[in-house]
């Protein structure tokens, strides 16, 4: 029985429990509902909570623990030789074990007998391999006896777990139901209990956000530490060559220098900001200081649309239209512009982040007190002089915050650069040449076949951590500036 089926049955039982709880409470008070502390509905909820909640908690805990526990049991069968080996070897053997164990339940009893015999050495491993091959378990070589033993144990542990889980869940549900049913009486504070449980549920929901952050940090950090066992942090952070050649499992070959990627990321983001900051800022100034309400009502949504277009659309546009266009323009004026140049990705990305600059700047310019404007007009300044000499200096911290937020968007942006920027890591100052970025390399290291023990894959997590730290720092700083600025005028 799969976990989803169990869940569905539990929910069904819960609905049943609701009606039974209601009925029971009416029965208990003998139809005199005003003698009940809580209305019958709450008794229904009370019984639902006692029936379903412990069982679902058990189900969830089981789901988390099942894989590690069964894997641990199976691993003990691999023998000391493998267990004392490196993590990479262990993981490699375990992946073979898992693929065999996935196939074992599909075998007929006779075929399974062959595998059992191979495990104890009565038939050759290649017989077992043939049998497994018939059920599309493809093995690279004949399985060792200890591997077969581990796979057998894994499969039987899984089967046991699958047998016990529904029994345990339904037993817990039944116990909870029985206990709750017996406790229903007129004085039961069912509403208070229900509300406390609901309130805890709300609290748990609000911690999901925190758990996500913790999950991001831990998972990325864990794999990064793993990566640093292959490549020293110093070589990663200060290396100037990016060339992660293909290597066999467990060996670090090639060079993992972050600097060319970081440079490419910053270069493209700088071009993007060169487009987005002037356009976004002037658009914000025009909308908040000059435009009438009609123009504003039209221009603001138009700018917001730019932020709403999925980045893959920008990427495709840059790849198929804008890159070739720039290249042709360059050809006509005698410049050699690569179709995947820094300019292509940078300009398109710049357009994408215009709304991030403009809408926040708009808010901030609007927040500058009217008295400052009037004071300046009173001294005879024109509108543009007021903006340049009074409003912008007053709004500057906020605008800097907006620009930093936009920069963090640009640094973390993926799809535009994956499609429109280069692939080769390139330390160049020439904006007409292609460079590559951190995000491009995360994608290229993690698509295709994955082997989780090679530095070639793990480096993606180190790059991800770098990206996370940079964007987080920019965001926190930007929000700090914006908040501090707001306090100034409030």
């Amino acid at each position: 029985m799969s976990s989803l089926t169990i869940l569905a049955i539990l929910i069904g039982l819960g609905i049943l429990a609701y009606f039974i709880g209601r009925m029971r409470s009416i029965q208990v008070c003998g139809g005199e509902q005003r003698t009940l502390h809580s209305r019958p509905t709450y008794h229904g909820y009370y019984l639902v909570i006692l029936t379903v909640l412990p069982a679902i908690t058990l189900l969830a805990a089981w789901g988390v623990a099942e894989r590690p526990v069964t894997r641990y049991i199976a691993m003990q069968e691999l023998g000391p030789q493998v267990l004392q080996g490196s993590d990479a070897e262990k993981a490699l053997s375990m992946s073979v074990v898992e693929s065999i164990a996935d196939g074992l339940p599909k075998l007929t009893p006779e075929e399974y007998e062959v595998v059992r015999k191979a495990r104890y050495g009565f038939v050759t491993p290649s017989d077992a391999r043939d049998v497994l091959g018939r059920h599309s378990v493809v093995l690279g070589s004949d399985p060792e006896r200890n591997v077969l033993a581990a796979a057998d144990e894994l499969a039987s542990a899984r089967a046991t777990s699958r047998l016990i889980l529904p029994i345990a869940c339904f037993a817990v549900a039944a116990l909870g139901f029985a206990w709750g049913y017996l406790r229903i009486r007129t004085g039961l504070r069912a509403r208070n209990i229900t509300e406390t449980v609901m309130r805890s549920g709300l609290f748990l929901a609000s911690t999901v956000a925190v758990l996500t952050t913790v999950g991001i940090v831990l998972s990325v950090l864990f794999e990064t530490i793993h990566f640093f066992q292959f490549v020293s942090p110093f070589d990663f952070l200060f290396g100037t060559v990016w060339d992660p050649r293909f290597a066999t499992v467990g060996q670090a070959e090639g060079q993992f220098g972050l600097l060319p990627l970081l440079w490419g990321t910053l270069f493209i983001s700088a071009v993007a900001l060169l487009v987005a900051v002037p356009v976004g800022l002037f658009a914000a100034i025009y909308m908040s200081e000059y435009a009438g309400s009609k123009v504003r009502a039209f221009a603001k949504p138009v700018l917001e649309i730019l932020a709403g277009i999925p980045t893959i659309v920008y990427g495709f546009f840059a790849l198929s239209v804008f890159g070739p266009l720039l290249r042709d323009i360059g050809f006509n004026i005698g410049l050699e512009i690569s179709a995947s140049s820094v300019l292509t990705a940078g300009i398109v990305m710049g357009v994408m982040i215009i709304p991030f600059v403009s809408s926040l700047s708009d808010d901030i310019i609007n927040a500058v007190p009217q008295s400052l404007r009037e004071g300046s007009y009173g001294l005879g300044a024109t509108q543009s002089e007021t903006i340049k000499k009074v409003i912008l200096p007053a709004a500057l911290p906020g605008i800097v915050g907006a620009v930093l937020l936009a920069a963090s968007r640009a640094i973390g942006e993926t799809m535009i650069v994956v499609l429109a920027a280069g692939i080769a890591a390139n330390l160049t100052l020439n904006p007409l040449e292609p460079v590559t970025t951190i995000t491009v390399k995360i994608v290229s290291q993690l698509t295709g076949d994955l082997e989780f023990n090679s530095p070639q894959t793990l480096v993606a997590f180190a790059l991800g951590l770098t990206l996370f730290i940079i964007t987080l720092a920019l965001n926190v700083y930007a929000l700090y500036i914006v908040r501090k600025y707001r306090e100034q005028y409030e």
Partner: protein, 435 residues
């Protein structure tokens, strides 16, 4: 007196006038920069949409050839046993289509070169098309029927004008003879562009004319379903806790800062999280739309929480106090008044979150949604792709036919987003209450 005239002169004199004109010119210039900035954004938007539509509209049409195909028993089912499914499944359907084409064009069956040129007019997908017809209705074996067969990528490109007839024939993908055949068929009305249902129904394919968005649409649907089922309850509950219960203190501050930061974490980092936690730790299958949905849930959660909180905050205190005054508990106040009143706001926020999730690509690349999936996924655990991922995969392929498909798929994606956004605007305008 003289001082006064001197100072007046400094305002009205030649120099002063000049300076004033200069200042006014600066004023107009400054204003023009603002207009230019908005026009730049607008022009870029028009250019973007225009170029995608001009490339993509033709993807909704596909060239087909009408041929009288003889479903010959000798080729489909030589053993004569109608239960020999394997035989029927593996029969040489391409031959059926090609023979019909030779007859139609009057191709000399002994001339190999001519035969090959004629073969190139038909798509490689015709065998599946004919096979499905036979499997659906085996009684057509032995009869002759008019069938609209898919034309090849090159024939399609010629009809749509993306292959130029004026190019010298040695640099053109379609030969002179093929062009004359195509013209002949078009004149007879037996070759024309028809609405491309395959674009919405087919799965992955290596030839552009048979590639479609079917798998991607189902995958995206499963992902959106997961997001709605998980992110909305979680987000609304979290928002309710933060607005209604959270004591002002360290814990609620931490949660709040966290949510704001999560909203700004690059999407690709969520993909790394999904890979490390859902696939490596929990052992969920790669390429499954469930994993995609879970990752997108975590990504949209901040959006939903933030919009829901705004909606809850706009419920006026008078209603709260009235409810509490007649003896409602806090939970009853929330369930009976706060939630129903903020529902329109929550729905708008949900749609905005879904729009964001539907267009998101980067995290899906991390969890193996870049997959060549031919079969429709039937559960969220089956391998699938998503709409934006399909665009990415087509955009990275080299064939010309795929450029058109990519733009077409982009139009489909944009259409979904526009519909959903309009729905959000409609809901907001219809149900928004000013208290």
């Amino acid at each position: 007196m003289s001082d006064q005239t001197a100072s007046l002169a400094s305002f009205t004199g030649e120099d002063a006038q000049k300076k004033l004109r200069k200042r006014h010119r600066a004023e107009r210039r400054f204003r023009a920069y603002g207009v230019a900035a908005i026009l730049f954004a607008l022009a870029f938007l028009v250019f973007l949409f225009g170029s995608i539509f001009s490339q993509g509209w033709s993807a909704f049409l596909q060239t087909s050839i009408k041929l009288p195909v003889t479903f010959s028993q000798d080729i489909i089912n030589p053993s004569g046993n109608p239960d020999a499914e394997d035989e029927i499944f593996r029969a040489n359907y391409v031959k059926l289509a090609r023979e019909a084409l030779y007859k139609e064009l009057g191709v000399d069956a002994d001339n190999r070169k001519e035969r090959r040129a004629a073969n190139d007019l038909l798509s490689r997908g015709v065998d599946v098309q004919l096979r499905d017809m036979v499997l659906r209705d085996p009684s057509i074996i032995g009869t002759t029927e008019d069938v609209w067969l898919l034309a090849s990528d090159n024939a399609d490109a010629l009809l749509k004008g993306s292959i130029d007839r004026e190019t010298p024939s040695d640099r053109r993908a379609v030969s002179d003879q093929q062009i004359s055949w195509i013209d002949q068929l078009v004149d007879k009305g037996e070759m024309k562009k028809r609405f491309n249902t395959g674009l919405f129904l087919n799965g992955a394919s290596s030839s552009p004319e048979t590639a479609g968005l079917g798998v991607a649409l189902i995958g995206s649907f499963f992902m959106m379903l997961t997001v709605v089922l998980l992110a909305v309850p979680l987000g609304v509950c979290a928002a309710l806790y933060l607005e209604e219960y959270a004591p002002k203190g360290k814990i609620s501050d931490t949660i709040e800062v966290n949510i704001n930061n999560l909203a700004a974490v690059p999407s690709i980092v969520f993909g790394l999280l999904g890979l490390a936690v859902f696939i490596n730790f929990f052992g969920l299958p790669r390429s499954a739309s469930l994993v995609g949905g879970l990752v997108l849930t975590l990504m949209t959660l901040p959006t939903i929480i933030i919009t829901t909180r705004a909606a809850i905050r706009s419920v006026p205190p008078s209603i709260r106090e009235a409810a509490l005054g007649v003896g409602a508990s806090k939970m009853q106040l929330i369930g009976h008044h706060v939630l129903p009143l903020s529902l329109p706001g929550i729905m708008t926020g949900t749609i905005i979150g879904l729009v964001q999730a539907l267009g998101e690509t980067a995290p899906l690349l991390m969890i193996g949604m870049v997959a060549f999936v031919v079969e429709y996924p039937t559960t969220p655990l089956d391998p699938a792709t998503g709409l934006p991922v399909q665009i990415y995969m087509w955009a990275s392929s080299a064939e010309r036919g795929f450029v058109e498909r990519t733009a077409g798929a982009t139009m489909v994606l944009l259409a979904f987003l526009i519909v959903m956004n309009s729905l959000a605007v409609y809901l907001r305008n219809k149900f928004e209450r000013k208290w």
